[in-house]
């Protein structure tokens, strides 16, 4: 179908079905039945088999007509794409629809206190006992886990094989007594993540996804969607400006809850946008030492933006690989955030002692100063990004690996 044909068809369908006075769930059920909830998915699973470009046209029409789309924000997107890619028909049957309607929320249970950079070194155990998987262990950095219905869980099912081979991937029901999510406070005072404790938590055999011992492969699928931004859609999903109508209220609440863990993310990136206004406001713009640092920051920021645009063009043309370009962008973001924090400190001087609403830029400068350290850690540390760049982009030789052979023989944290 041509973009124009898609436009005509979806517009006609929306004219007939979209109404702002429906309850959100009712509308989404109609949306699913109409086949417009996830047009890039296959026809047998609520979709139309559209390409991503075709699906983009549908999204455009939705935005133009202020139509509430299917639920897709936050870890939901990771769950649905992973299940679609690796799940059994039974799993797709059970899980996909309530994700799209927004009835079920999901979380990701990957990282552990003992395995951060080394995700495949995870030690949460899954043992098959009396026809069920029994899970014991601890996860961490789990956004939304405190209100999620289900979790994407990786756990170790075999300690006698090399570490990547002994991992299995489960769809975990979070609403059971053996699962406890505890909010984790960050140094900037926000609570965006949880620790999740699993004590004899139970998973039925039909919730193993991708096959026993094949969990690392499935996890890489999830991670590739994460890198492509499926978990961050929340930022782009908001409708332009507030809209009047009952369905919008429900939808905005869904977005608000999903966005809540990310409110400090702009501060984590250094708030480059506030640098010139603050420099003008304080007069620091006239300080030649500060000017040098602002110029460096603008240069880095412009360079990263231009290089990302160019990489994105290359990706669309199929000439740029996603992972290295992502690592370069992520490393650039760290450098920029650190420089921004440095510049904000120089600009504020002693006023950088203060925080809260009465302090500079409504407290945002203070939040920058205590949030920037996260950018070089979360989602893969700078060190991991440099490994990726040097090995995958530059082809430099890998170093010695101390984590081969059976998992049980690998040295690890107690």
């Amino acid at each position: 179908m041509t973009p124009e044909q898609i436009r005509r068809e979806v517009s006609a369908w929306l004219d007939a079905n979209w109404r702002i006075d429906r309850p959100l769930l009712e509308w989404r059920n109609i949306l699913l039945e109409g086949g417009w909830a996830a047009p890039h998915w296959p026809e047998e699973w609520h979709g139309r088999g559209f390409t991503l470009d075709q699906a983009m046209v549908v999204s455009e029409v939705f935005r133009e007509m202020d139509v509430v789309p299917a639920a897709q924000v936050g870890p939901r997107g990771l769950a649905s794409e992973t299940i679609l890619a690796c799940g059994s028909d039974d799993q797709k049957e059970r899980y996909l629809k309530p994700i799209l309607t927004g009835e079920d929320t999901w979380c990701q249970l990957f990282s552990e206190p003992g395995s951060g950079s080394d995700l495949a070194g995870l030690s949460t155990r899954a043992e098959f006992v009396d026809g069920r998987w029994i899970i014991n262990g601890q996860k961490v950095w789990n956004t939304s886990a405190h209100h999620a219905d289900f979790g994407l869980l990786v756990a170790r099912t075999d300690r006698d094989v090399p570490k990547h081979q002994g991992i299995s991937y489960f769809l975990l029901d979070m609403r059971q007594p053996g699962v406890e999510a505890r909010p984790l406070r960050q140094m900037n005072g926000h609570q965006s993540f949880n620790e999740v404790f699993m004590t004899n938590a139970v998973v039925s055999p039909e919730d193993l996804i991708g096959g026993e011992g094949n969990g690392w492969h499935v996890a890489k699928t999830t991670l590739s969607f994460e890198r492509r931004g499926f978990s961050r859609r929340v930022r782009g999903s908001s409708l332009d400006g507030p809209k009047q109508g009952p369905i919008y209220e429900e939808y905005e609440e869904e977005l608000r809850i999903a966005a809540e863990p990310y409110t400090w993310y702009p501060q984590r990136e250094g708030r480059v946008d506030l640098v010139l206004p603050r420099a003008r406001e304080t007069g620091a713009i006239h300080d030649p030492a500060v000017r040098q640092q602002i110029a460096k920051l603008i240069c880095l920021h412009s360079g990263a933006r231009l290089a990302a645009d160019s990489a994105e063009a290359g990706r669309r043309a199929g000439t740029t690989e996603i992972i290295p370009a992502g690592s370069i962008g992520k490393l650039a973001a760290s450098v920029i955030a650190r420089q921004a924090s440095h510049v904000h400190t120089m600009i504020s001087g002693a006023d950088a002692l203060l925080s809260g609403p009465d302090s500079a830029a409504d407290g945002m400068i203070a939040e920058v100063l205590v949030s920037v350290p996260a950018i070089s850690i979360a989602g893969g540390t700078d060190e991991i990004q440099r490994n990726i760049i040097s090995e995958r982009v530059l082809g430099m030789p890998k170093g010695y690996r101390a984590d081969q052979g059976p998992f049980r023989d690998i040295k690890r944290n107690a």
């Binding site: 950079s117 984790l184 140094m187 400190t345 002693a350 809260g356 350290p373 070089s376 040295k411 944290n413």
Partner: protein
């Protein structure tokens, strides 16, 4: 001029270090930083008065221990290691040095013994904390002698018995003594980045005050140098302690089947950090010796403040980065040092301001 610590000074360091290990463990720091007051009066009584730390740099004639900037630096450095929460910096370092440098003979004799013994908590009120050259822009003594204006940030004013206020008096700056209960005085606690250092906004709406000295340019600069030197020592102590714990962490933490401290990128970062701290420590100790002897480079204190601030921030950034996610949590202690590093970096002037001040002393203004 000294080039090494004397055995008495080594002994002082050992004593203070042991006392603080007991009295200022991370648990106590967390408790006090969450409190409004921000310090433990019993501990302050024991260390400030009992052990004589509040007057370590004050001549014996005024009730002190007879030391000077070097001894003050030793105490500050050890306090910095443990993030000691208490009015030492505000009262002993800031107010104490201001009294010694700028108060009249009679006011010194009257006020210093209380500050030196720790029985009086004093706070130095300056209307600018970036540079001595900017002091005097807001606070002034009116014609009737009462004080007017606002000091946007004052360290530990909320627990001070005595405020020492630098305010413009005609063409000069004067030092003024104000009791904490004086009429027209308003002390509002502020939200802070570093909860181990409590700050307030202090407003003077015609507050009766006693003039106790003239703050000439030289006295103000020397006071600033003494405060900067002490703060540099505090930062070096913090940097060193955090660096040690970070290196220890890399030896214990395993990823990819190895202690992360065996990865060359981390090893080299730690080596660079060691170098940065060593050099900053050397100029910091030198600054105190110059001030004590009244000789050496006039810019030594500014050089120390800039170097120590950069080294502490480097240690703080590495402290979090090398711990990964756990280092960014509230539960882990690293952020306490990070926030102290950030607050110390900007208190009394950023590194860039001190470098420019240093060059002005070396070569005149740009």
């Amino acid at each position: 001029m000294q080039t090494e610590f004397s055995s008495e000074q080594q002994l002082l360091r050992d004593v203070v270090s042991r006392a603080l290990r007991d009295k200022s463990p991370p648990g106590a720091v967390r408790e006090l930083m969450a409190s409004d007051r921000g310090y433990d009066p019993a501990v302050w009584q024991e260390l400030g008065a009992g052990a004589g730390l509040a007057g370590v740099h004050v001549p014996e004639a005024w009730g002190g221990a007879g030391g000077g900037p070097v001894e003050l630096g030793i105490v500050a450095e050890e306090m910095g290691r443990t993030l000691f929460c208490g009015p030492f910096f505000a009262s002993a370092v800031m107010a104490g040095n201001a009294l010694m440098e700028a108060a009249d003979e009679s006011a010194r004799a009257e006020l210093l013994p209380g500050v030196a013994s720790g029985s009086v908590i004093a706070a130095l009120v300056l209307d600018d904390l970036n540079s001595p050259a900017a002091v005097g822009g807001s606070l002034r003594a009116r014609d009737d002698g009462r004080l007017a204006g606002t000091a946007a940030i004052v360290v530990d004013a909320h627990v001070a018995d005595l405020l020492l206020v630098v305010a413009r008096t005609g063409p000069d700056l004067g030092l003024h003594a104000v009791g904490s209960g004086a009429p027209g005085l308003e002390i509002e606690p502020l939200q802070v980045v570093d909860p181990t250092r409590k700050l307030s906004r202090v407003t003077f709406a015609g507050v009766p005050a006693r003039p106790i000295g003239t703050v000439g340019g030289e006295a103000l600069n020397r006071t600033w140098d003494l405060m900067s030197s002490a703060l540099a020592h505090e930062m070096i102590g913090g940097a060193q302690r955090l660096f040690e714990s970070t290196v220890a962490y890399t030896k214990e933490r395993f990823q990819f089947g190895r202690p992360i401290g065996s990865f060359q990128a981390l090893k080299h970062r730690c080596a660079d950090l060691l170098l940065e701290i060593e050099l900053a420590r050397a100029v910091t100790h030198h600054a105190a010796r110059c001030l004590a002897a009244g000789e050496g480079e006039p810019w030594a204190a500014s050089m120390a403040k800039a170097a120590a601030a950069d080294a502490f921030m480097s240690a703080a950034r590495a402290g979090i980065q090398l711990r990964g996610g756990i280092g960014f949590t509230w539960e882990d202690d690293t952020h306490l040092w990070f926030k102290r590093a950030k607050s110390s970096e900007v208190l009394l002037g950023t590194p860039a301001i001190h470098r420019e001040r240093m060059m002005t002393m070396l070569e005149g203004a740009a």
